[in-house]
């Protein structure tokens, strides 16, 4: 079936892109540190939720997964922004496997929640930035309710919070060239959101805030230096 083979070559393109470019870039240029990676050893599907301040966020989160899982991880991306021209759309579909989500002109047939549900039903996991857009600084902006709608419609949905540090310094909104600040990803424990939508969002914010304020601790053995 040609659908399967297109899919295979897309997966291969993404894997090559990550092996040859993304992983070396994050390891040698950004020096990405990861804490709590073990929390991602979850069976699909789940929703990985993070703060958003940079284009580096999506690549960094995707890089945390083993290569063979990449085909099943779908970063939700604004259709209006990533679909602004056919080349950007094709590249972000091929290399990042994005799930385009409408932010404007929402119609019932491509309703964001519906699109995300379909993906989860297919057994794909989502990466979601509930702030809806890239913010400035290390603060977490207001969270949109999408993730709460999703959790409400799919009881037992696993949500994994993650906080991305310094990405907005390395590659802020509006800049093209990255500066190699050390960046860190802190992944929190998987959880279920319960209660009303407001309560769900409050739980999520609390989890993200807890990860944010956790001090960028250094290796326990490196606690002191030679004079």
């Amino acid at each position: 079936m040609s659908g399967t083979s297109t899919r295979r070559s897309r997966d291969l393109a993404q894997i090559l892109f990550f092996v040859l470019f993304v992983k070396p870039f994050l390891a040698l240029f950004i020096g990405l540190r990861v804490r709590g990676r073990e929390h991602l050893e979850m069976p699909d599907p789940f929703v990985l939720v993070a703060n958003h301040s940079s284009h580096l966020d999506t690549v960094s989160l995707l890089s945390l997964f083993p290569l063979r899982r990449l085909g099943r991880i779908r970063p939700c991306a604004a259709a209006d922004y990533f679909g602004r021209n056919p080349l950007v759309l094709a590249l972000s579909r091929t290399l990042f496997n994005i799930l385009p989500i409408a932010r404007t002109n929402i119609r019932t047939e491509d309703h964001p929640i519906q699109r995300m549900r379909e993906a989860l039903d297919r057994g794909e996991s989502l990466i979601l930035f509930p702030e809806g857009t890239r913010g400035r600084g290390s603060e977490i902006g207001e969270l949109k309710a999408g993730v709460a709608y999703l959790a409400e419609q799919i009881p037992g949905l696993t949500v994994i919070p993650a906080y991305l540090e310094n990405m907005g310094r390395a590659l802020p909104k509006g800049e093209v060239l990255p500066v190699p600040f050390f960046c860190e990803v802190r992944v929190g424990a998987p959880r279920r959101l319960v209660g009303s939508r407001e309560e769900m969002l409050a739980q999520l914010r609390e989890a993200l805030e807890a990860l944010r304020v956790r001090e960028t601790s250094r290796s326990p053995s490196g606690s002191s230096t030679a004079t």
Partner: protein, 311 residues
């Protein structure tokens, strides 16, 4: 310079380094047996890291001259990264920081092509003039002086200062047989690091009177004198790496140790100001790359110009 894989002095030095590390490993083992209740986690991590650092360093030095330059360039890059990450930067600093990092490959390229005049001028003159311009173009006057100063300082210390190691490697003046740029680098690094380690050891054993209590309470007169004296004496062991007679070896080692101490003290002040104890976590037991090369940022330019002037 790329031709022969390892000249006898370099090999001799590799064997000597291995011997020192075997000795250190054995010493830690004996300590653990003698006093099993002590906490040796950090000590063990440090010695293990020394093995890794020495192996990587010798590999970079032995394989190829270009690879050695890439290695030193990477040290500069990583040190600048650690420093810049700890700074309080403004969004308006983004492009200046980008250019500051670009100075790393540029500076090492100048070393690689052997353009000495530009190597000396590029950062202290041209980057100094250029970086504030990129800050001006960002159009944010608040905090301008602070940004310009702290960025230029980092580029001077970790790119300009450290790159003298690379230039020393390419030292092209006639030297006695067996001695070349590589052996001079080995001498400098051996003496500087020995001085660091021995100051730490003497300080732990006898340290009482702090030299700079407000900057670094762990730097003591006992550690300083003991470390500098013993590292200078040990430098005689590796005199075969240098063109110096005995008296000059001692004198140069003393200079390197004292200047290296100043480098360490300056970085301590930087750390204290930026509110951190270590610059990173790359090297277990040591902190970051910067914690290991802090003394070299000072000793490399001084040693380089000493050799350049007198040889």
């Amino acid at each position: 310079m790329t031709g022969e894989l390892a000249s006898p002095p370099v090999l001799r030095m590799a064997v000597l380094t291995a011997a020192v590390l075997v000795g250190a490993t054995a010493l830690v083992g004996v300590l653990r047996l003698a006093r099993p209740r002590g906490n040796y986690g950090e000590l063990v991590a440090r010695v293990r890291s020394w093995w890794v650092m020495a192996t990587v360093f010798f590999a970079a030095l032995l394989v190829d001259a270009r690879l050695s330059l890439v290695f030193f360039g990477f040290l500069s890059f990583w040190a600048l990264k650690e420093y810049v990450t700890l700074l309080e930067t403004r969004p308006a600093d983004h492009r200046a920081l980008f250019w500051a990092f670009l100075a790393v490959p540029a500076q090492y390229l100048l070393v690689g092509v052997g353009w000495y005049g530009m190597f000396v001028l590029f950062i202290p003159v041209y980057m100094f003039l250029f970086l504030p311009l990129t800050l001006v173009l960002a159009g944010e006057p608040g905090g301008f002086v602070r940004s310009a100063s702290q960025i230029q300082w980092g580029v001077m210390a970790f790119v300009f200062g450290l790159s003298h190691l690379g230039n020393l490697l390419r030292f092209a003046e006639p030297l006695p047989p067996g001695v070349d740029g590589r052996t001079l680098v080995l001498f400098l690094v051996f003496v500087t690091e020995m001085s660091d380690v021995l100051q730490y050891v003497w300080g732990k054993l006898l340290g009482r009177r702090p030299i700079l209590p407000t900057i670094s309470p762990h730097k003591t007169w006992e550690g300083f004198v003991g470390g500098v004296a013993s590292a200078s004496v040990l430098s005689l062991l590796v005199r075969f790496l240098t063109p110096f007679p005995v008296w000059e070896t001692l004198l140069v080692a003393l200079l390197v140790c004292v200047v290296g101490f100043f480098g360490g003290a300056v970085m301590s002040a930087v750390k204290r100001d930026l509110g951190t104890k270590d610059f990173g976590s790359l090297i277990p037991g040591h902190g970051g790359v910067l914690d290991r090369v802090d003394s070299l940022c000072y000793s490399a330019p001084v040693f380089f110009h000493y050799v350049r002037y007198f040889y």
